[in-house]
């Protein structure tokens, strides 16, 4: 059983007009085996939260803590965080020309597991996960994310999560850009990983549609750079019905 604690987290981003504060005191605790949906309108700072946890160089944490089983994650480099058990499925996965997906996956698995996985087992493991995500085998030889469609990129993010088996995963708008079939397939893989491992998940999304496939234990509303309300499934139903109007003072739907 592991715990990810975010305590009074403040973070800013450097803009042309100077530093701009985006996260304004985020408090959240996620335990192993829990799925937390973090729902917020556009520009509320949801993605900044995920990048700040992962350690993106563009975002500066100005105060607060992120603790993984009591260890301060913010003092770790980006790769140390990943090896400690954090995973970020990115909204916009990056293309790395000339580096094949299979080389990338194996290099990452070797780094996270500490040892190179045995080739024979590894090939099967990758193949099985790719099959579940309905990813065609030819992607193994293609450059990382290069020329992938939005949906293909998202499937590969979940593939990486399934292979790297993190303690905690932040899924940043994994549902965006997915058609109904892709959403079902991707959600099913997330659910399988959640059942097979004791992963804790922060499911960041603008819309309620993914919650029809992945059942959250807790739903949080994120607005103005912090969590403004937390509740159960009924809170998601309320957002579905009424949108974000009561949090931001203007209508913005949470359903498509």
């Amino acid at each position: 059983m592991a715990t990810l604690e975010i305590k009074d987290l403040h973070a800013s981003v450097t803009t042309d007009e100077g530093a701009k504060e985006i996260l304004k005191g985020v408090n959240l605790t996620v335990n192993s085996g829990e799925i937390h949906a973090i729902m917020g309108p556009n520009g509320s700072g949801k993605s900044t939260l995920s990048y700040a946890i992962a350690g993106h160089p563009k975002y500066h944490v100005t105060s607060g803590e992120v603790l993984l089983d009591g260890e301060n994650v913010l003092e770790m480099s980006v790769d140390e965080r990943a090896r400690a058990g954090l995973f970020l499925a990115m909204q916009y996965p990056v293309e790395v020309p000339g580096v094949s997906m299979s080389n990338f996956l194996r290099t990452a698995a070797t780094a996270v597991r500490g040892d190179a996985p045995k080739l024979r087992h590894w090939v099967k493991e990758v193949k099985d996960e790719m099959t579940k995500l309905e990813i065609s085998g030819e992607f193994a030889d293609r450059s990382v994310n290069e020329g992938f469609s939005g949906g293909e990129k998202k499937r590969h993010e979940i593939l990486q999560m399934a292979l790297l088996k993190p303690k905690f995963a932040v899924l940043d708008e994994t549902d965006s850009g997915l058609d109904v079939d892709a959403l079902r397939v991707v959600s099913q893989s997330v659910n399988e990983v959640a059942e097979a491992t004791d992963i804790g998940v922060m499911l960041i999304t603008h819309y309620t549609r993914i919650l029809k496939h992945i059942q959250p234990d807790v739903v949080h509303v994120f607005a103005g750079g912090k969590i403004v309300e937390s509740g159960g499934k009924d809170l998601a139903d309320d957002l579905e019905e009424n949108g974000y109007v009561k949090y931001i003072g203007k209508p913005e739907p949470a359903k498509l």
Partner: protein, 393 residues
Amino acid sequence: MTVAENNVATAAEAVIPAASRAERFTGYDVEAFEVPGGREENWRFTPMKRLRGLHNGTAVADGAVTVDVDATTDVKVEVVGREDERLGIAGAPSDRVSAQAYSSFTEATVVTVPADTKPEKSTLVRVTGPGEGKTAYGHLQLRVEAFGNASIVLDHVGSGTYADNVEFVVGEGAKLTVVSVQDWADDAVHVSEQHLWLGKDATLKHTVVTLGGDLVRVSPTARFAEAGGDVEMLGLYFADAGQHQEHRLFVDHAVPHCRSNVMYKGALQGDGARSVWIGDVLIRAAAEATETYELNRNLVLTEGARADSVPNLEIETGEIEGAGHASATGRFDDEQLFYLQSRGIAEDQARRLVVRGFFHEILMKIDVPEVRERLEAAIEAELEAIETETATA
């Protein structure tokens, strides 16, 4: 790749040169050329002082290069005098240093792959520099006669100051794959004009790899004698602190139905690392149905390095299949680094992956396995050097 920043000069647009490349003076006699001062179009990127007098007649030959050829018995290797009538047919020097080399060499090596011959293995031509503090001029001609098919590795190693002309004569229907590797010692200065001559329906894959040397300037010029020629010009360079590596290409499309495809990629690291890439393509009025594309990419790995990239495309006929160019110079992409690191891959390994990936496209095109392996090893060695520098910085 991120957009160029202040220490990175780049030409995103192909510029129409002030004077057409067709008007550039060429000749075999050094005295017909004026001594360049360094502001001429042809010389403006080159640090003239580091040429050690190759450009102004003060670099007197006081040494010689050693040329060793390792070839199968069906390949003919000759050492000939200046009077040999075959010499110079692939093209005349287009700058004063090349003309100086042409006017100064005393003997030339001619390697011939006879007609209808396909040697079983690659021919290796190794040129060893005259030695530190010595100057030499040289001349090489590599010929593949009609319908021959050969692979040649031209390897440059050692020390000293060296200017030469290399002719690649590819006969009718012949195929030549050649890799010119400049793997000089740190002190070496090498100025080379490489004349690519393609006969009817000839195919030439010409790859330039520049790794070593203090100053290396290679100018490959491709000419088509008749229709149907196909030239692929590839380049890979890795400039370290203080190194100047310059590649000046000229593809002269003067006859119809020929193709050219240029791809050069370079990485730079360390203070004063400098690369220059010029890609002149001229499609003359007669060159209908030409198909041409040129690309140059530079990856600037550290502060203090600078890459210049200038594609020039002149088109004198509208009746072509296609003509295009691309040029970009970028710093190391932090987003790529972040992405790889976020999967647990340590920073140094992530950097290596990105640089290897950058060169992958070119390496895959080098179909001489021993050269490809050697280059992969050389790139790894360069990358380890960055880590050492970063660690001690």
